[in-house]
């Protein structure tokens, strides 16, 4: 047994007892493509997106719904993919950051994020882009206040948010909605 007060990283008592875990067949649509993939009961949406579909754009910043960088659009609503169980996404339509723009042609949001210097370490950017895309889809003429409220669920430690807000505003004027 590790001594009292040891860091959680050196603890060895977290091995869960062996339990029977069902596998499920998850059928859903991601970035306009249909998938049928076998998942474990305890897989979260983010685990399936990253590890089974290979879509590494969605990041796990905290795993507790506190940072927002794992945000994806599910059936038209913004959700934290670290909180949604994979099987809760059955029959749903998901958009990840990979579904915004393409490798040949960037989405206006991606262009303005680059031009504004809105990305520093980059870790919040998937959540910010997905959130911004969702905002432009649902409220294209959002005011600056509404933009700030829209991104209030994604934490950024680098930029102070000003360049991100500017990038979204710049994209608004570029996008013909």
């Amino acid at each position: 047994m590790p001594p009292e007060g040891g860091s959680a990283l050196c603890r060895t008592d977290f091995e869960p007892e062996v339990i029977v875990v069902t596998k499920h067949l998850l059928k859903f649509r991601v970035n306009e493509k249909d998938y049928a993939v076998t998942v474990d009961s305890y897989d979260r949406l983010i685990d399936v997106l990253r590890d089974k579909l290979g879509l590494k754009g969605t990041k796990e910043g905290c795993g507790t719904g506190d940072c927002g960088t794992c945000a994806v659009i599910m059936n038209g609503k913004l959700v934290n993919s670290c909180l949604v169980l994979a099987m809760q996404a059955r029959e749903s339509s998901i958009t990840t950051v990979e579904g915004i723009g393409g490798e040949e042609v960037l989405h206006p949001l991606q262009e303005t994020f680059i031009q504004s210097g809105a990305s520093q370490c980059g870790y919040c950017i998937p959540g910010m882009l997905v959130t911004a895309k969702h905002l432009l889809d649902t409220n294209p003429r959002a005011s600056e206040e509404e933009i700030k409220l829209a991104i209030s669920g994604v934490l950024c430690r680098c930029t102070g948010y000003t360049k991100i807000v500017k990038a979204i505003k710049d994209a608004q004027s570029r996008v013909a909605y």
Binding site: A8, H24, K77, L85
Partner: protein, 304 residues
């Protein structure tokens, strides 16, 4: 071995089994047989972080997300009835919850972020039975009733009896919360919510409270008042009955409000923790009470 609430990062994923009910009836049958081991997951915004932090280690989760018949907000026979799966977003956008139920929109404005609000449910708030669940003070102030169903039938219990202790309710293992209801407010009433936290978003309440008040606004007489705090004398949400008694039937003015604040001061028993001291929480609670009561009175006057 002690581990603090936000324990160290643990690499291994928690493993659990998952039951996905085909329909409501199948779920009730399943619970009658397996309720003891089952942990419900609706939105997951409370449960999943707790699993991640190893605060709970469930063996079996039961997914409620497909029971769409539990997602509604309606007014019927003078009662507002809300299905357990209604989300914070849906409550804040509901036209059934008119202006007077401002508390629901105020809760939403400070509740996590947009993505959390889209999955967090009212049933989940009630089942979590913790002072972090912002809807609970609002529902206590509205004197809400919790409706549950099991294979044995249905039950209706007042929320204040339903909450038994910190993260403990009187739910049996085979029981499911299906609906939360409360009497509709009349034309002289308003329900408001205040929250103090270190940030505007993505933050737990240090102090939160809901006030539900009925006033005869021409003479500023308090016909009825209900006040609930996220923490009052312990670590769960409670109604401040002594405070309510001090204000009920009185004329609302500077003097009576100040008296209410004094009564509150004498009744609050808040503890310090790593988030805030008890002194801070008490001062915040008093300020929030004053603000909420004044706001309610102003809004009720504007209803005329």
């Amino acid at each position: 071995m002690k581990i603090n609430n936000h324990g160290g990062y643990v690499e291994k994923q928690m493993k659990f089994d998952l039951y996905i009910p085909e329909n409501f009836e199948a779920l009730l049958k399943y619970l009658a047989a397996n309720g003891k081991d089952a942990v419900f997951v609706a939105g997951g915004s409370d449960l999943m972080p707790r699993i991640k932090r190893r605060l709970v280690k469930p063996k079996l989760l039961v997914d409620l997300s497909s029971l769409r018949e539990l997602d509604y907000v309606k007014q019927e026979d003078g009662c507002i009835r809300i299905g357990a799966l209604a989300t914070i977003s849906e409550l804040s956008e509901s036209t059934v919850l008119s202006r007077q139920y401002e508390a629901f929109r105020q809760v939403a404005a400070r509740y996590g972020g947009p993505a959390i609000r889209n999955i967090a449910t009212i049933g989940g708030n009630v089942a979590a039975a913790a002072s972090s669940e912002d809807l609970i003070p609002v529902l206590l102030a509205l004197d809400a009733t919790i409706h549950t169903t099991s294979a044995r039938g249905t039950q209706a219990r007042p929320l204040r009896e339903f909450l038994v202790g910190k993260r403990r309710t009187s739910l049996s293992p085979d029981e499911l919360i299906t609906e939360i209801s409360f009497r509709a407010l009349n034309g002289n009433s308003w329900c408001t919510f205040e929250k103090v936290g270190r940030r505007n978003s993505l933050i737990i309440a240090l102090v939160s409270l809901a006030v539900c008040m009925e006033i005869e606004s021409d003479i500023m007489k308090v016909n009825d008042i209900r006040v609930a705090f996220n923490r009052f004398r312990g670590r769960i949400p409670e109604r401040a009955i002594g405070l309510e008694t001090a204000l009920r039937g009185r004329s609302l003015n500077e003097e009576t409000i100040a008296e209410g604040v004094r009564v509150l001061d004498s009744e609050l028993a808040l503890t310090s923790d790593y988030r805030a001291s008890s002194e801070y929480r008490v001062e915040a609670a008093k300020a929030c009470l004053r603000k909420a009561v004044v706001h309610c009175a102003e809004q009720i006057s504007s209803l005329k």
